[in-house]
């Protein structure tokens, strides 16, 4: 049980960076430098704990640690290090982590320079009035150009970089000095210790033993064990069962979390639903007057149908989604039934990565085999009768004659690219209905672009396209900027004459014909030949706008001598049968899983 540390000796800071610039590595290095873990306990990247994070090298869940540090001045400081998620899908979590800090380390790769996420994160940090310390990392690299990178930061972001740190998270060079800079430059918290409890939930998760946990930053007053607290958005009251300080090895129990501190609150809740990120915790008997600003319920941004391949696994899928939801209140799901795919769930995600991660976890942790339909955004539709409806599944779009207006979500895209790819990128963005807002040369070789663009165009394989047209040298980040009217229509796909609901898409009218043609041609490649010829058509309403055929199969047999070993032949046939079972039968047509994602890859 540690003794109470005065606010003047606490430093709360986040780390922000573009992916791969070394955020997690530096966090690990700082932890080590403070002596919180020994060399042996240091599995690489203490901070990334999920399997998927370790595999992909992306921080999905922000982690925090409380570190003890004896500074050069001989004083004992508490450093609360708050790692932030490294992906645009989780930018709300980033903003809440930043709201819990007084300062942030802005990490920039000494060889890469400023990237799109660097800029996006800096804006969030400045919104929260944080003290920013520019940290150029990877100075050990032969290609490191720290001063040029610092100039880029000044040019692209307008941030004064006179005071900065140069470090190598890999070798540790510059890290002790950086920690001193944190103590010197980041302001201590300065909350009213006598006021009633006011704490920000900046992360929450589910623990199998302890139930739902909230990671909080206490702004005013304190949280005590046994206290009755209130969650301000829901007015729900809970008892504080336990309190802990986060620690890289395992949490440390405490009786109170004091003003300016971060800590973990144990409430015994069965789901994180009641502990949403951004919400305020206060004292139930003596609540604070105003909750902390900026609370938003997690809003799913992209949607996809998720279906079990084996139709009898629907309930298992429901259970699995419910279990994941305990830990991630941002997933939403509703049962949905598709003529083509049977029963499944229309599931909402924060973004594309979030979707991939959830699908992967469902398959991996719950042993489910799933088909996901192509992701789409949400549309707002004003009907001719004045009604307004929200569309999560393109198939549900009302008939054209009942629609007066359709609105689609836009984002502001930030792109940083070497100048040589500028032409390619501008062409790509124009193709994707982008509207240029800004084009700045941050130096003679790199350009910063800002575009307004429909999110739907991003969902359609934008990342991969951007990567391939720029050999991976451009970086990209975005932020939602609301809905705008679009001239959109629903495109249906008919296989053997039947509309396949799971393949419907919403497209700009002027692109409908070319998309329809590309779609049927791609399906033609994906759908294997069947016993009968299969017509594949694209239609808008009752108008067929594109068509093609999958020719009937001519031959499927192994024409070899088996003699009496008929079992062997039977087993080969059974294997083929199992292969077909993995496809979805639409009428009598076997459609492979890839077909449901094909629309994303249309040329």
């Amino acid at each position: 049980m540690s003794k109470k540390v005065p606010q003047s000796h606490i430093r709360n800071f986040s780390i922000i960076a573009h992916i791969d610039h070394g955020k997690s590595t530096l966090a690990d290095r700082i932890i080590q430098e403070c002596g919180a873990v020994t060399e042996r306990q240091m599995s690489s990247q203490v901070m990334d704990t999920m399997d998927i994070e370790k595999e992909r090298g992306i921080t999905i869940k922000a982690q925090s640690v409380r570190l003890d540090y004896i500074a050069k001045d001989g004083e004992h400081y508490i450093l609360n290090l708050i790692d932030t998620p490294g992906h645009v899908d989780f930018s709300y979590e980033v903003s809440r982590s930043l709201a819990s800090s007084e300062g942030a380390l802005l990490i920039i790769d000494a060889a890469q320079g400023v990237e799109a996420q660097t800029i996006a994160n800096v804006y969030i940090a400045l919104d929260n009035d944080l003290e920013l310390i520019p940290v150029v990392n990877k100075i050990d690299l032969p290609s490191a150009e720290p001063y040029r990178v610092l100039e880029e930061v000044e040019e692209a972001i307008g941030l004064d970089c006179t005071e900065h740190s140069l470090v190598s998270a890999k070798t540790g060079q510059g890290v002790p000095e950086l920690i001193e800079a944190i103590v010197d430059r980041i302001p201590p918290p300065n909350g009213d210790e006598t006021a009633s409890t006011k704490a920000l939930i900046y992360d929450s998760w589910f623990d199998n033993y302890l139930g739902a946990l909230a990671l909080v930053r206490v702004y005013e007053g304190k949280i005590e064990k046994g206290q009755k607290i209130e969650i301000m958005s829901t007015k729900e009251e809970h008892q504080v069962l336990d309190l802990m300080y986060p620690n890289p090895i395992s949490p440390i129990k405490t009786d109170s979390i004091n003003t300016g501190e971060i800590g973990i609150v144990v409430t015994g809740l069965k789901s994180v639903d009641g502990l949403q990120v951004g919400d305020t915790i206060t004292d139930a008997k003596n609540p604070t007057a105003k909750s902390i600003e900026g609370f938003e319920s997690a809003k799913p941004f992209v949607f996809a149908g998720i279906y079990p391949i084996e139709t009898d696994k629907f309930e298992d899928l429901r259970d699995a989604l419910n279990k994941l939801k305990l830990n991630d209140s941002s997933i939403s799901f509703e049962p949905e039934s598709s003529l083509a795919l049977g029963s499944g769930f229309r599931t909402g995600f924060l973004g594309m990565l979030h979707m991939e991660v959830i699908k992967e976890r469902l398959e991996r942790e719950f042993n489910l085999e799933l088909i996901a339909t192509a992701p789409t955004v949400i549309y707002e539709v004003e009907k001719t009768n004045g009604e307004r409806v929200t569309i999560q599944n393109p198939f549900d779009l009302p008939p054209a004659q009942n629609i007066s207006k359709i609105y689609e979500p836009y984002i502001k895209a930030t792109i940083l690219t070497p100048t040589e790819f500028l032409g390619n990128i501008i062409k790509l963005l124009n193709d994707r209905r982008g509207i240029q807002v800004k084009m700045d040369y941050i130096n003679e070789t790199r350009v910063l672009l800002e575009y307004d663009i429909p999110m739907n165009e991003i969902v359609m394989d934008f990342y991969d396209k951007l990567k391939s047209t720029t050999k991976g040298y451009a970086s990209f980040d975005y932020e939602p900027i609301g809905f705008r009217e679009g001239n959109l229509v629903k495109l249906d796909i008919r296989v053997a004459g039947e509309v396949v609901d799971a393949l419907s898409i919403i497209v700009p009218e002027e692109k409908a014909r070319s998309r329809g043609l590309a779609f049927v041609n791609s399906l033609k490649e994906l759908i294997p030949r069947q016993l009968f010829e299969v017509a594949i058509q694209a239609s808008i309403g009752n108008n067929i706008i594109a068509r093609t055929n999958v020719k009937s199969m001519g031959k499927n047999v192994t024409a070899k001598c088996y003699g009496g070993d008929i079992t062997r032949k039977r087993k080969l046939l059974e294997k083929q049968k199992a292969g077909k079972k993995r496809m979805k039968a639409i009428g009598s047509v076997n459609v492979p899983q890839e077909a449901f994602m094909a629309v994303l890859k249309l040329e």
Binding site: Q530, L531, F532, M553, G554, K555, N556, V557, T558, A559, K560, C561, G563, G564, D565, I566, T567, K569, R570, L573, E574, Q576, K577, K580, S588
Partner: protein
């Protein structure tokens, strides 16, 4: 009752072949035949074979022409009382080892049908497949078989090897039809695990046209296409037995036997087999397994599927295929009009 006898010896290993055979165990031939006779005696009892009950015998391999007629004589002595008069007795033979005297020797024992592994009449292709015979040897072997008295002569061809063209295959067929044969088995090259070709699977081409081409060319010359790979003026009785799921005894290392709902697998390893020819693995087939087999075997050949073995569901689907012109109905039997689609149709029905 049918009887299959397996001879697991070859002079060399063809690059495509995964049949159980050895190129370095010739010294064990006598012991092998002794062991085989031991198993045969056991099987005759187990299958309760009565006198004159064996309708057909097939001696296959491996390469049966690596065994002298003298050794076969021992087997035939054991078998003699059980063989039905007029039974079809086939032996496989490789053109390089099926000499005039070997052919006449087995003919004397009562073998009345010979099937030559010719594969091709193109020397380059023969070398590429690692065959140990030449075109001329193959032609002479067939002529010699006719000379010693065989009236039923078949030959095996392989197609869809990488360099195959219509011209090459047409020439093979032309040469074949100039010989005194009444049957051809034309097999599509299959890449089998463990073979040399499995390391370079691109040696097989996926040209469906060639399959149809070869079938058309053979049929055009007057042979009936009665199973995917089999054509003839004379149709092999033994093979038809397999496709009808008749009981069959299988003796030898790598042979397979079948009775009612069991399949029997003697040891594949020749040394084990010689030591213990009665060490036989048994597989029990379920009703569904047998139905599956009846369906795909029926579709692969002109045997067809008897409606009475099918459940309502399958009958409905089969009738739909009749309506769509994919099957025809002959009395109570569904018959396939395109054997090359048989797996796809079986998958549709099952």
């Amino acid at each position: 009752m049918l009887l299959y006898i397996h001879i697991p010896y070859c002079d060399s290993k063809c690059y495509y072949c995964s049949f159980n055979s050895y190129t370095d165990k010739f010294y064990s031939r006598e012991n092998y035949i002794l062991a085989l006779i031991k198993q045969l005696e056991f099987e005759l009892k187990r299958f309760r074979v009565k006198t004159c009950n064996i309708e057909s015998i097939f001696i296959g391999g491996g390469t049966p022409s690596t065994i002298t007629p003298k050794l076969y004589e021992y087997i035939f002595k054991t078998l003699e009382p059980f063989i039905m008069s007029g039974a079809e007795i086939t032996i496989e033979a490789n053109p390089n080892s099926a000499t005039l005297s070997w052919l006449s020797g087995v003919y004397e024992l009562g073998v009345n049908r010979v099937s030559f592994g010719v594969q091709s009449f193109n020397n380059r292709k023969l070398r590429a497949l690692n065959r140990s015979h030449s075109t001329n040897q193959a032609i002479n072997a067939v002529k010699n078989a006719k000379k010693v008295g065989f009236s039923h002569i078949s030959l095996d061809l392989i197609y869809n090897y990488m360099n195959d063209t219509k011209e090459i295959l047409k020439r093979d067929i032309d040469i074949a039809f100039n010989l005194p044969i009444d049957h051809i088995s034309a097999y599509e090259l299959t890449i089998e695990d463990g073979t040399k070709f499995s390391l370079t699977p691109e040696v097989k081409q996926e040209d469906n046209d060639l399959a149809f081409f070869i079938a058309d060319e053979i049929k055009r010359r007057g042979f009936e296409h009665y199973e995917i790979s089999n054509f003839g003026k004379y149709k092999s009785y033994h093979n038809r037995g397999y496709w009808q799921l008749k009981d069959y005894i299988g003796v030898g290392a790598g042979a397979v036997g079948f009775k009612k709902d069991r399949r029997y697998y003697p040891s594949i390893n020749i040394d084990n087999y010689i030591k213990n020819p009665l060490d036989i693995r048994e597989e029990i087939l379920t009703k569904e397994d047998i139905l599956t087999e009846k369906i795909f075997l029926g579709l692969r050949s002109n045997i067809g599927i008897d409606e009475t073995i099918l459940n309502k569901d399958i009958v409905k689907k089969a009738d739909f295929l009749v309506e769509k012109g994919k099957l025809i109905k002959d009395g109570k039997v569904y018959k396939n009009i395109n054997f090359f689609l048989s797996d796809e149709i079986a998958l549709y029905l099952l």
